[in-house]
C-alpha cells in the first residue's frame, strides 16, 4: 500500500487509509475512490500525500533494508547499554514483522 504525493494521485485510485490533514483530522474515509474534484479539494485542504491501493515498492514505501539501516544509525553509541539494545531489538522485530506500514 504505497503512500504517494498528492501530485501523483490519479482519479480512479482507491484510498486504503483515510486522507487526513497534517493535524490528523480525517477528511475522507478509507475505501473512497478518488475523483479529480476530490483531489482538488484535498489539495486545497493542504493534504500533501495519500495512501492508495496499488503495487508495492513505489517511491513512498521505505524499503526494509533502508529502515533497518536507519535504525542502526539511531542507536549508534548505545551498544553497551542493555536496556537500549533491548529496545532496539523490539523495534527491529516490529520493522521486520509489520512490513505493510508506509
Amino acid at each position: 500500500m504505497p503512500k504517494i504525493p498528492i501530485s501523483d494521485a490519479k482519479p480512479g485510485q482507491r484510498l486504503t487509509r483515510p486522507a487526513a490533514t497534517r493535524a490528523g483530522m480525517v477528511m475522507v474515509q478509507a475505501g473512497t475512490e478518488l475523483t479529480s474534484a476530490l483531489l482538488d479539494r484535498l489539495r486545497n485542504l493542504g493534504i500533501s500525500s495519500v495512501v492508495v491501493a496499488g503495487e508495492r515498492g513505489s517511491p513512498g514505501d521505505k524499503p526494509l533494508e533502508v529502515a533497518l539501516h536507519e535504525l542502526d544509525e539511531r542507536f549508534v553509541g548505545h551498544e553497551e547499554d542493555a536496556w537500549m539494545m533491548s529496545l532496539k531489538a523490539i523495534v527491529r522485530r516490529q520493522l521486520k514483522g509489520g512490513g505493510d506500514h508506509a
Binding site: A20, R22, L87
Partner: protein, 277 residues
C-alpha cells in the same frame, strides 16, 4: 554566547508580544476558581469560534488516539478533563503550535504527537488515574524548541548546523550555542502562562530526570516516551540520535520490556499515516 539571564528575559518577553486574549484569561480564571461547571466553561470557549476550532483541531490531532473525531468542546471536556482543556486553550490561543512546529521544524509536530501517544499508552500500562494528562505532556514536551526557533532564529540556525556537523543531540548543541536548553525554555514559557507544576515540571526535566524531584513519575513517563518515539523513528525532533535511558526513570515506571513492546506496537497501530511517514 548570549547570557542566560538575557535569554530568559527574551523568552519571558515573548509572552508580552503573544498576548493572551481576554476570553482565555476568563477561561483560565474559571478553571482555577473551581466553582464553575464544565458546561459553563465549554460555553465560554464556544463564544470564540476560532478558538474552539483550534482546540478541537488539537484534540483531534491523534495525540490522544480517539477513534472517532470529537466535534464539540463539551465532549472534549468530558473525555480529557478540565486541566487538559485549559492547557490546550492556552496553547492554541497564544501559540498556534501545529503551524509553528510545521513552519519552523519539519517533523517536530509528528514527533510531538508520537511522544504524546507513547506517553498515553505507557500511562495506561501503568494504570494511572489520568492517562490523558500524560498525553498532553508528550504533546508539549518540546515546546521550548519552537520558542527557540521563533525567538532566536540566528542561534537556531547555528544549532541546526552544529547538529548536522557532529550528528549530536539537539540539546547538546543548544547548550553550546545558547547556554540554555529547550526544556528550560519551555519551563519559562509555561510558568509565565501560570500552568500548574504537574504540567511544567515533566516538560522542564524530561531530559534531566531526578527521582526525588516533584512529579518525578510524570517526568519519567515523558522521558521514556520521547525515547520510544525516537527509537521508532516517528517524526524528527531536530536530530537523528536517541538520548540514553535514565535507569531511575525506567524503574519508576514499574513496567517490563513486554509492556514497552506493547506500547511500541500501539504506535504502529494507532498513529495515522500522516504521522508515521
Amino acid at each position: 554566547m548570549p547570557d542566560r539571564a538575557a535569554v530568559k528575559a527574551k523568552v519571558e518577553g515573548i509572552t508580552k508580544i503573544l498576548t493572551i486574549p481576554p476570553v482565555v484569561s476568563r477561561i483560565v480564571h474559571m478553571v482555577n476558581a473551581g466553582t464553575v461547571s464544565a458546561a459553563e466553561i465549554a460555553e465560554e470557549i464556544n463564544t470564540d469560534q476560532v478558538l474552539a476550532a483550534k482546540v478541537l483541531r488539537l484534540v483531534n490531532s491523534g495525540f490522544y488516539g480517539f477513534r472517532q473525531p470529537i466535534t464539540t468542546i463539551t465532549h472534549a471536556m468530558v473525555l480529557l478533563g478540565l486541566d487538559v482543556v485549559k492547557t490546550l486553550v492556552m496553547t492554541a490561543s497564544v501559540l498556534d503550535i501545529v503551524d509553528a512546529m510545521n513552519q519552523y521544524m519539519e517533523g517536530l509536530w509528528e514527533h510531538s504527537v508520537g511522544t504524546a501517544r507513547a506517553a498515553n499508552a505507557l500511562a495506561e500500562q501503568m494504570k494511572v488515574q489520568n492517562p490523558e494528562e500524560y498525553a498532553l505532556l508528550g504533546l508539549l514536551h518540546d515546546i521550548g524548541k519552537v520558542v527557540i526557533a521563533q525567538t532566536f532564529p540566528t542561534e537556531h540556525g547555528r544549532i541546526r548546523d552544529l547538529v548536522a556537523e557532529r550528528n549530536c543531540l539537539q540539546i547538546d548543541a543548544e547548550l553550546e550555542v545558547l547556554g540554555v536548553t529547550h526544556p528550560e525554555v519551555g519551563m519559562w514559557l509555561l510558568k509565565k502562562w501560570s500552568l500548574p507544576s504537574k504540567v511544567v515540571y515533566p516538560i522542564a526535566y524530561h531530559s534531566n530526570f531526578h527521582p526525588r524531584r516533584d512529579h518525578a513519575d510524570r517526568t519519567a513517563v515523558v522521558h521514556v516516551a520521547d525515547i520510544l518515539c525516537r527509537a521508532k523513528g516517528i517524526g524528527y525532533p531536530g536530530d537523528a540520535r536517541i538520548p540514553r535511558i535514565n535507569p531511575d526513570a525506567w524503574h519508576m515506571l514499574r513496567l517490563t520490556l513486554d509492556d514497552v513492546e506493547r506500547v511500541c506496537q500501539r504506535l504502529d497501530d494507532e498513529l495515522g499515516d500522516e504521522v508515521m511517514a
